[in-house]
Symmetry: C2
């Protein structure tokens, strides 16, 4: 089923205690659309890049059947550039450089042929832009949105407005606490549901993820990674794997969404094993399936009589 992804495309410079990658492909829309492309093809993309965006990466998108009709290429401009540095614990990061470049004036335009897309994934961008996108759509079946702490503190009203119109909100644990002003994650999720989305997914990094589906709860385990090389894009890869599987199956039931959370966790686990997009840019269906099955082993147990 048709899937439209909107978000940022970037050239990132990333430093971690384990190494450095310069001007490498990044941005929320990149990680989401690549992750989703393992489940559904084509993936429709709306975003903006400058004339410096590498031709070979555009070709890579096309190889993965990511439809670039909605990609604005501003030849005279430069692509959004972020330079970040992670500490040893990989939880805290410092933004050394943020050059918005062509992203500063980004006015997302959904091509006519994309407007009837059944599924819409709003990657982490300014919530005012997220709203501009879904206002152009013609009755999507499901809208998923992601965000980050920057918008919770800087554009809270716009974010709350977006929440009224979406179905699934994906957020990490500290952001959920910040947005809801509740320390307890189960209370935080209920409060966020009261803002609009009936489905809230809280990502907890090494502790897995929680899916709140109306009044139901699903707790997904984390993949037991002993080393994480680069957390950049993990949340976006989760969102992409999640919505990709939903779009492929065209099934928004609780049971199916549980599996989608596991597929999201699967792609995110590959993401953090290598730098930047390296962990997810060339996966096989067998790798994905094997890891999905490992998640089953980690969490399954048989019933018992007492």
């Amino acid at each position: 089923m048709s899937l439209l992804v909107v978000g940022s495309l970037a050239l990132d410079t990333i430093e971690t205690p384990f190494g450095k990658a310069e001007r490498t492909l990044g941005g929320s829309a990149t990680f989401i659309s690549v992750a989703a492309s393992y489940f559904v093809q084509p993936v429709r993309l709306v975003g903006v890049v400058g004339g410096d965006f590498p031709k070979k990466e555009l070709e890579y998108f096309e190889e993965r059947e990511i439809d670039l009709e909605g990609l604005q290429i501003i030849e005279e401009g430069k692509t959004f550039h972020w330079h970040g540095k992670y500490d040893y614990d990989l939880n805290s990061r410092e933004s050394l450089v943020t050059e918005l470049n062509v992203f500063a004036d980004f006015d997302p335009v959904v091509p006519e042929s994309f407007k009837k897309s059944r599924y819409l994934c709003l990657g982490n961008i300014n919530p005012e832009l997220q709203k501009k996108v879904f206002q152009q759509m013609e009755n999507p079946k499901l809208i998923v949105a992601d965000t980050m702490n920057f918008w919770i503190s800087g554009k809270k009203d716009a974010l709350i407005d977006v929440l009224k119109h979406i179905n699934v909100f994906i957020i990490n644990d500290s952001e959920a606490r910040e947005l809801s002003e509740e320390a307890n994650l189960f209370k935080a999720a209920k409060k966020i549901q009261s803002f609009g989305p009936k489905i809230v997914i809280i990502k907890k990094g090494e502790h897995g993820a929680l899916l709140f589906y109306e009044n139901e709860l699903f707790s997904a385990p984390a993949y037991p990674l002993e080393s994480i090389y680069d957390p950049t894009g993990a949340g976006d890869s989760f969102a992409g794997g999640f919505i990709g599987y939903i779009a492929k199956t065209d099934d928004i039931s609780f049971e199916n969404m549980k599996r989608a959370v596991i597929f999201g966790s699967t792609i995110a686990s590959f993401c953090v094993e290598k730098f930047s997009l390296e962990g997810t840019r060339d996966l096989s269906h067998i790798q994905i399936k094997d890891r999905f099955n490992e998640f089953t082993r980690f969490s399954a147990f048989e019933p018992s009589e007492l």
Copy 2:
């Protein structure tokens, strides 16, 4: 199958932001043996109390078929007393008063009739005393031990010595990091396994628990509690539910130990819903079974073709 529990018996005064309980029944052996008694009876107890220990609590133990033959009652002494105060987040606590009393000279003696117990649970006490206990035993099938940060910092060598002789070690996440000097929990568990126990359980509070069984992993979800009234005894209740179920089923396979972790989590979830022992002192089998089944709902998902 026969189960022996060793640990402390205490009269606790507990303050949380939600209330205060004075000189209420506490101690690791109390919480463990009560939790285990829902699965296996009798539960054999080795411990010490003073003459001030309430008669009605001794009667309560007997009602729950907790065998007090190994309980030393020092009539002229006073029972171990702990007075603790929890902060709002209930994660940090302050010990206001710790009076060891009769516990200061506790020399655990395993009665002759207890020495062939098939299962042994060493509650959180000085690791030198834990060793004294298992040295008196005659070939137990499985030894489970718990500890706390106080012994990791104060009696690390004695604790490492105990680890060489036990089968299952139960520890919380921050203690696992402290003992192993590894920030990553999966690495921490492997390192602790290298100290001796082939099975390590890491309790993660609101994030559930991880069971490391040789090279296998099981990730148990947390029960979605929106309010926690008093965390005192949660870890002991987990240990008691865990070993109680193992002793009942006499099955130490990975598959059965997964269920034991869920039963441990079940009893711990009841524990924190009320003050002190109030949450677990009078449970029904139906309550326990219903909550076990809820854990199944939170974590089960069906396989998928990609």
